[in-house]
């Protein structure tokens, strides 16, 4: 019986193609997010070089990220030079609200995307004069799931939880809460 094709015991009356090379297994051991992580490391190095402290704000949609930013920017604008990168699927509504406080802002529209990644942030930074900025606030797309996996190069991830969205959100969406260095209850 042919061990390649399992044909019967009556004799082997056919040829196998010469090109049938044996399969081989090769070790890859490469991080799937290595590209994002490499770009995030580049962003982090850029922030460090410019002396910019960076926060990545994550939460559900509507929990108050933009309102918190507006209030913070107005209260501290005489002490710290801020800039804000806004992430949303569509519209420039949030960047417009931030710009109204007098803070430089740039809107990233992710289209179908559910999170910001390091590549988008790297290009977003091209819209600012980084020399003049001390603190960069990145407002991620409102989503409690996907932003957990993507490092943007920030110093700290800040999760905002508004009690009206349900107090059990940390139990339901633990990775993001676990990943954050700071959690604010609104």
């Amino acid at each position: 019986m042919c061990i390649d094709c399992g044909c019967g015991p009556s004799g082997h009356d056919h040829q196998h193609k010469e090109t049938e090379a044996p399969r081989k297994t090769i070790s890859v051991e490469e991080d799937i997010l290595s590209k994002n992580n490499r770009l995030a490391a580049g962003n982090r190095a850029l922030f460090a070089r410019q002396g910019i402290f960076t926060l990545n704000l994550v939460s559900s949609p509507g929990s108050g990220k933009t309102s918190l930013l507006e209030k913070t920017l107005v209260d501290l604008k005489n002490e710290i030079n801020f800039a804000v990168l806004e992430g949303d699927q569509q519209t420039t509504n949030d960047a417009d609200r931030i710009a109204a406080t007098g803070t430089p802002a740039h809107q990233i529209n992710t289209g179908a995307g559910c999170h910001l990644d390091a590549h988008m942030v790297g290009h977003g930074l091209e819209h600012f004069d980084l020399e003049t900025i001390q603190m960069m606030m990145i407002e991620n797309v409102g989503n409690l799931v996907c932003p957990a996996s993507f490092d943007l190069g920030e110093d700290f991830k800040v999760t905002l939880l508004s009690v009206t969205e349900g107090e059990d959100k940390p139990l339901k969406y633990p990775p993001l809460f676990r990943d954050s260095e700071i959690m604010l209850i609104n």
Binding site: R23, K24, S27, V28, E30, S149, P174
Partner: protein, 113 residues
Amino acid sequence: MHELGITQSIVEIALRTAAGQQAKKIHSVTLEVGSLAGVVAEALEFCYEACSQDSLLEGSVLIIEEIQARARCRDCAAEYPLTDLLACCPVCNSAASDLVCGEEMRIKEMEID
């Protein structure tokens, strides 16, 4: 659906590796995915089929091996499997822990001709 972006990275790495090996065909790609990596295996498989069309990966099998997350207690140093992200230490009941593994997302190996 961030699985689509992740799948595109898988395809990119697999095709680059295959080109480096002068592979004529890729039969399978094996991933190691931590139980806390935040990706859904079914969604990855769905995206993989779509992303692998018209490439060396077309018709290949995506094999996903799950790595069970483990945590180490900051108070008593016990190591335990983390089935629930907010679980307490089974030895001393402390809630303070560090993740030992479980967030991995990497391509382990490929089977090629």
